[in-house]
């Protein structure tokens, strides 16, 4: 059983996501970005290339300087989101990335480089990112 958060867990989600053609049609598909995830003090980086998530890696706080955007939540909020997806098969309306972004005073998605076009990739690829996390419903998860 993969432990969230870990590279192993993200790799398992990648395997599900990359193998499911449904995520490529109907508004999904082509996605080219590097997304950071700040999970309390842990930092992970997901690379989306073409129609697949090609890599997941662990980083450090400095890594977030270079990503297109990063999603920043407390460990409890991440756990709540992943747990909701596991329980429902996909995020319910209160746990989508869009809702989580709107419900936070400073937003969920942010960047340090100040490039608006790169930061807006969060909106352009929002559905693909949602598909990615929704794919975690098929990964047996233990929480660290």
């Amino acid at each position: 059983m993969a432990v969230f958060p870990s590279v192993d867990w993200f790799d398992e989600v990648r395997n599900v996501f990359n193998a499911d053609d449904r995520y490529r049609g109907a508004g999904g598909g082509y996605c080219n970005c590097v997304a950071g995830l700040k999970i309390a003090d842990h930092v992970f980086v997901l690379t989306f290339d073409g129609v697949e998530c090609s890599a997941a890696a662990e980083g450090d706080d400095g890594t977030l300087d270079d990503v297109d955007f990063y999603l920043d939540m407390s460990a409890a909020d991440w756990r709540d989101m992943v747990g909701n997806i596991a329980a429902n098969g996909a995020a319910d309306l209160h746990h989508t990335l869009n809702t989580l972004d709107l419900d936070r005073a400073d937003g969920l998605a942010m960047s340090r480089h100040g490039d608006q076009v790169r930061e807006d990739l969060f909106f352009r690829y929002n559905q693909t990112l949602q598909f990615f996390f929704d794919a975690s419903a098929l990964v047996e998860t233990a929480f660290a």
Partner: protein
């Protein structure tokens, strides 16, 4: 990143090999047909072999050698495809937009590919069967918002297509991307109309349309239209989609607003990239865009004073008429603050920061957090 396309062009001055004409047959001779194949050496660069990368053979991958040359002004007035040999004596078409600064965005080719690959079909991709009856007040409100969004989409289509044919062929990446943007808008027109007619409601009251008129009647050039259509209105529509997705009543609405958001985000990306390019490459353009923004804000505020959209959104966000005045209007205020923050962020990034205090009312009311100055 995907593999870069590779190309092995032959020297530009070396013509394509010219085959030796086959001997004519008796029947050819009867028709007095003597093929010369002299068009075969008419090429500016031969031997190009672009290769697909991980995401396929993309439009931007074709920009190799002379085929990637995009001069600051496109003087050819014909429909000659970029890189082809011009034919002498072609009558001019009369393109009005021939300066690269008037339309260019470096990201246009990638956005085109993205739009093509991320396309969706409202008829079959939206899970329409998840729509269930809603309370009358909420259905009324949603249909009213859809009515407004249909007219926004129509203005997108008319504005983009109205300028597209005036753009020089040499900048085909932009023309092709804008073709997808107008198709996106057609899709939005379609799906909002379908939502309004799918659940026992119908279309509501036409919006005041001050911004629509301002956008459609702008004559100062495509860049001016971009400011009004894709920055001022675009950022507003983007924010609307986000909140309507947040307060969706079923999977069909979630799907519609999430996907319309992605489409609109592409349009805004083009706009920001184009304006960044325009102000960097055209004299005085920074000041021109700054002036356009101030004019546009005035038009937008006239629309915002109309209560219909505001009330309909408050009903949706509040979960009905009973909670519209308090909870609904509070969420409407959050939405407007998000919109103004996004808009001011765009202005800042473009190098033309706006003083929130100088925004016209009611925009200035949303420029700060609700408790600011309390």
């Amino acid at each position: 990143m995907a593999d870069k396309a590779a190309a092995k062009p032959s020297p530009p001055d070396r013509p394509a090999p010219k085959p030796v004409p086959a001997k004519s047959t008796q029947s050819d001779e009867k028709r007095n047909f003597e093929p010369k194949y002299n068009w075969m050496d008419k090429t500016r660069q031969w031997g190009v072999r672009v290769k697909p990368g991980k995401a396929g053979l993309k439009l931007g991958d074709l920009n190799v050698g002379i085929y990637g040359e995009t001069p600051t002004q496109w003087t050819d007035q014909s429909r000659n495809p970029r890189g082809a040999v011009p034919r002498r004596g072609m009558p001019p078409v009369g393109y009005a937009i021939r300066d690269k600064a008037g339309l260019w965005a470096d990201c246009a080719a990638d956005l085109y590919e993205e739009a093509i690959q991320r396309r969706w079909a409202p008829a079959t991709d939206v899970p329409w069967d998840t729509i269930e009856p809603l309370p009358d007040d909420i259905e009324h409100a949603l249909c009213q918002v859809c009515t407004e969004l249909v007219s926004y989409a129509n203005v997108d289509i008319e504005t983009i297509t109205g300028w597209q044919h005036q753009m020089s062929y040499g900048y085909h990446e932009v023309k092709q991307f804008l073709a997808t943007a107008s198709f996106d808008a057609a899709r939005h027109y379609e799906c909002f109309r379908k939502r309004a007619l799918a659940n026992g409601g119908g279309l509501g009251l036409e919006g005041p349309g001050m911004v629509n008129r301002m956008i459609l009647e702008s004559r100062g050039g495509w860049t001016e239209a971009v400011v009004y259509l894709l920055v001022l209105r675009g950022a507003f529509t983007l924010t609307l989609y986000r909140y309507l997705g947040r307060y969706a009543h079923n999977d069909a609405e979630r799907f519609i607003f999430a996907h319309a958001l992605a489409d609109k985000a592409r349009h805004v990306t083009y706009a920001l990239d184009h304006l960044k390019y325009a102000v960097a490459h055209a004299d005085d353009q920074l000041q021109v865009v700054r002036t356009l923004i101030a004019i546009g804000e005035g038009g937008l505020t006239r629309d915002l004073r109309d209560p219909v959209l505001r009330e309909a959104l408050a009903v949706i966000f509040g979960g009905g008429v009973a909670k519209a005045a308090h909870r609904g209007m509070a969420v409407y205020g959050e939405m407007m603050r998000d919109y103004v923050a996004t808009y001011l962020g765009y202005c800042e990034w473009l190098g033309m920061p706006r003083d929130p205090a100088r925004l016209p009312p009611p925009l200035n009311e949303f420029a700060n957090p609700p408790d600011a100055g309390a």
